[in-house]
């Protein structure tokens, strides 16, 4: 048994190492980009809701529909569907770089939805109390809205990360590399 593992590592060891690094890169960069896009989107969704601070029917509905559409397309289809877009953004549609774009497009709306749910849990009364104290809206967003939903946000991000790792497995199909490619 021991001999076999040694043999396996001799044969695949360096590949495995490289693949692990690639997976971490892929997931890490995609996750970071998705949060950077998803969190503000989530905040925008909450704020533009009817009868909220920046109520705007059009912005809200467009966002809502776009997010629903993207969320309902399986990753594997999305991956091919947006190939031209990927190429336009990063210049290539293969490799680690080529797979980050679809991963972000897939994950950011998901994060936006999860953030929206988390932020909506915040007690409206507290937001009002801060408004009544004459605090600036951007301060209320950060120091009250985001702060009070911290634990739900973290839970949401955990869920999103798991989804992201799952999706990254399919990255192998466009030669994205990573652990999952090695296993194919």
């Amino acid at each position: 048994m021991k001999v076999r593992i040694d043999e396996f590592l001799d044969l695949w060891g360096s590949d495995l190492w490289e693949a692990t690094i690639q997976t971490f890169q892929m997931v890490g960069i995609s996750l970071a980009s998705s949060i950077v896009i998803g969190l503000p989107l989530g905040i925008l969704l909450v704020l533009t809701r009817p009868d909220k601070a920046l109520a705007n029917k059009y912005v809200y509905q467009v966002l809502d529909v776009v997010i629903n559409i993207i969320r309902s397309v399986p990753f594997i289809i999305l991956l091919f569907f947006i190939l031209p877009f990927t190429k336009m953004i990063v210049g290539t549609s293969i490799g680690v770089k080529g797979v980050i774009v679809p991963l972000v497009v897939y994950t950011a709306p998901y994060i936006a939805r999860l953030m929206e749910t988390a932020l909506l849990e915040v007690d409206r009364g507290v937001l009002e109390a801060y408004e009544a104290m004459g605090i600036k809206t951007r301060h209320i967003i950060w120091h009250v809205l985001v702060r009070e939903s911290r634990s739900s946000i973290i839970l949401g991000l955990t869920i999103a990360t798991i989804g992201l790792i799952g999706a990254s497995a399919m990255a192998g199909l466009v030669g994205g590399g990573g652990l999952w490619t090695s296993s194919l």
Partner: protein
Amino acid sequence: MIELVGISKTFTAKKGSIHALKNVSISVKKGEIYGVIGYSGAGKSTLIRCVNLLEKPNTGSVKVNNVDLTKLSTGKLRESRGKIGMIFQGFNLLKTATVFENIALPLKLTGLSQNEVERRVTKYLSIVGREEKHHAYPSELSGGQKQRVAIARALAHEPEVLLSDEATSALDPDTTEAILDLLLKINKEFGITILLITHEMNVIQRICDRVAVMENGEVIEDGTTREIFTSPKHQTTKRFINSLFSHQIPDKILLNLNKTGQVATLSFFGESSGEPALALVSKKFDVYPNILSGSITRLKEESFGQLLIHLKGDANEIEKALRFLEQQHVHVEGVRVSESKNRRIS
């Protein structure tokens, strides 16, 4: 200090529109405690939220300290809001912040220095009587303690006006008393004008100088607490005052009593004016007074009592006796059977 003139507010809901406020005007003087009382849905919260424009009225002007808030830019409005403190039924503290942070954070966000923030937090926490437990979270505090923290948070901005939206409605009677005492103290020591809304007459009775009674989005009656207590005109006002006294006599008994005389409610100020007058009545007129029930309660400045009495005797003599009582500054109302309204005699 606060001048609301001709405020109307209509909400458009799916089922149609709700006229929450219809041409409401109230005027609160500097340094007084003004109460607005009304049943659920009367529009009280909407009204008080119009004062700091959390709710934008459709028509009317909102002047606080002679500044028309409806005409201000967003920035100037924020500045003015800093001078108007507000406390709520639900306390509205941050769950993720300690007592100290709850008061310090809004101060920091308005741009005060760290030193000043700390000074104010310490000062106002001790004023509301919560100098210990700075590092407790709201979930570890009782309702009364949370409201104290919320009051400290409002005071820390050193406002000229404090708005209170049912601040004691979620509290038990003892805690309510303590919070009302605190509001009185704030009013006296800092001269902060207080506008409060409530559905409990005892809140009005304990601390308010003047009152407005609201129903269906309108102010139906207003005046000094004393005026409202002695001569309530509107049915709703009477019901609120009667909620403090429970002189419920079964109709059957009332019917019998009214056969042999007259049942009446006497209202009077001061501990001593009711019963002595009644004693005189029995001497001067040919009537036999009998006290069926009675109680005395404290208003902000003086005590206020009510006696439910039965006067036995000739109708003519009774009439004279009641006249006499009115001359002695006792307010008299006759009580009849199955009469939800108390009609005034004389």
